[in-house]
Symmetry: none
Subunit: 199 residues, 4 copies
């Protein structure tokens, strides 16, 4: 962990090492996004123009590398949520937030795999980044609910679930991302009395 993220730990990396790390991360993000978790580490190393050993120096495990990507992603997501929560129109901000996820098509496959991954991954590895994200999301959600723009019975976890669902749907490529977001967002709005006349 400490060695996986030296920026957090001890001394700063040598210039070339930092460059390599960044390059690997960048390439891995792309490749994972395009082809999912199945792509071999060797392939990533090759595309990044480094040896496998170098990849492993920076990321002790394939999962660790993958996590690093997701973490970065989730952190970004969380920060965006936080910022939007500070804005004047939390309702609008909340729904805008959804689009952010779906738009970034390049990461879908990776995120998709990450979230679909069996077990352990979700629970432990990304916990730190999840915190950041969930916090930002919770903040934003609360404000949007206060403003009456979002169903009051939804939790941040629920919303995250919907995000994942949207990612999955967008990845399908069988429906317009805008429509997907539109429908799910509509669904998250408070149910107007008009809507369910029979209820």
């Amino acid at each position: 962990m400490t060695s996986a993220d030296p920026a957090v730990a001890g001394r700063p990396l040598r210039a070339d090492a930092r460059r390599n790390r960044a390059r690997v991360l960048e390439v891995a993000q792309q490749v994972f996004a395009e082809e999912g978790l199945a792509v071999p580490i060797d392939e990533i190393a090759r595309r990044a123009g480094v040896g496998v050993g170098t990849v492993y120096r920076h990321f002790p495990t394939k999962d660790a590398l993958f996590e690093a990507i997701i973490v970065e992603r989730l952190r970004g997501v969380g920060e965006a949520a936080h910022e939007l929560a500070q804005g004047p129109d939390a309702g609008r901000g909340f729904f805008a937030f959804f689009e952010l996820m779906v738009r970034d098509a390049s990461l879908n496959k990776a995120l998709f795999d990450a979230l679909a991954a069996s077990g352990s991954f979700n629970q432990e590895l990304t916990s730190e980044a999840r915190q950041v994200m969930m916090t930002g999301l919770g903040e934003l959600l609360a404000k949007a609910q206060e403003a009456g723009e979002v169903r009051a019975d939804l939790t941040a976890a629920d919303v995250k679930t919907f995000m994942v669902g949207c990612l999955a749907m967008a990845r399908q490529g069988t429906a317009d991302p805008g429509l997907i977001v539109g429908v799910v967002c509509d669904g998250m709005r408070p149910v107007s009395p008009v809507r369910t006349p029979e209820g």
Copy 2:
């Protein structure tokens, strides 16, 4: 179900073979559902109490086995859709249809993987079962739209996409299936003028 037999049709399987086939299918369904596509065939064979060869006798390929499960699932879904389309209240039927997908939690991971699978799978293998499903779904959708219960701009493909999304979400285990279905179904309803006063 019965038609998902050995080589499409042929003569009926021997009693023990049928038993084994069913057993493999059942176990595979469970195991795939629990652990996804990554689980080795050997493991499935072991759990089913048969040799690997037996699995391969019935399903010439791992993909074929997986497909058989999905196919069975989709067929069931399609048939259900068709039946509901015959009912008096297509709107209610349409939304009831969604629940059917999500309920069957045991298959989610498998379906999820199947639908997330890269390329070839989606397009060819399941085409037959997809036909059945899409037809039934289209039927049901049309009636529900006529009844004004579903947004008129949704296509059957869109709805399928939403189904997949719901499956993905339910699989997460991070939100109540009922809630998931509720939200997405609400989202698919025609947008009432009240809902988007600013639009």
Copy 3:
């Protein structure tokens, strides 16, 4: 062994059994000839219209089945040699004998595989049929040598070796079978003084 060749052993086979045995043998001969030893037993059973079990009832082993074919073949060869040995022109007969082997293209692959087979096969399994063949061949060879038409230093084993070589060559399909036989036959003729003026 006894069960593999009931004609030699105990009571005669039931009519259908005999039919099956013959059918398997016939099909196996063809299939082995066409595709070599690599063809699965299941395939042979299928083409013969019987179950695998039936094949195994008649031939306890794949090798045994293969042997049976070779045996039959060699027996035929031996008998032909014997008959030719009785003829008036043993020299001509001897060389005609070669053609017989190469002509029968349908068996080449099988014979080829048999003779190329690693080890044990050659030495034990075919011993009986080999006897028959070698005896006939020896007879023919002796007469041809007496007539001065074949190099006196050749043994029956040598000639058999040349036969195998011709089979191998014919199988290649890269030279005219007639030419192959012609060249090798010429080579087996006594070396005329004219031929090696420098010797």
Copy 4:
């Protein structure tokens, strides 16, 4: 030899890699020669004292490994033919050439398998090495024919076929290699009028 390197050329291999590659090649040559194509890669790896992965690193496929051996062999053969063609006595050289093939007993089984191999192998994989060989052989043959030492109607392909035949025969171990070569070489000599008085 040197050109049979990793990806045709690239940079030179690391010392240990080169050692391993050579070791694998050497072992494979021996093992294939002794036991033919059937020997598992694992076995070769084991005998070479390396992991399977190492074998596959150097030779992406079992066939590729096999080819590498044959290629090396055929190249040597072709070069020898070329050199002999430069000599003063092409006739003698031509026939000496045959011995070269048969002598090298260690490779027979491998070459045999290679040449007997069904289809694709012969046609494509070894094409480069085949070129070298066939060219050298053609050269030598032409000169020998000019000198009246070899039947004028033989093509290089025919001669190759005879070579294969000799390999097959030598492999049998049932006849003296010298005799085999002697007979076939005699057969390739021009037919003297004396030889076929009846023709």
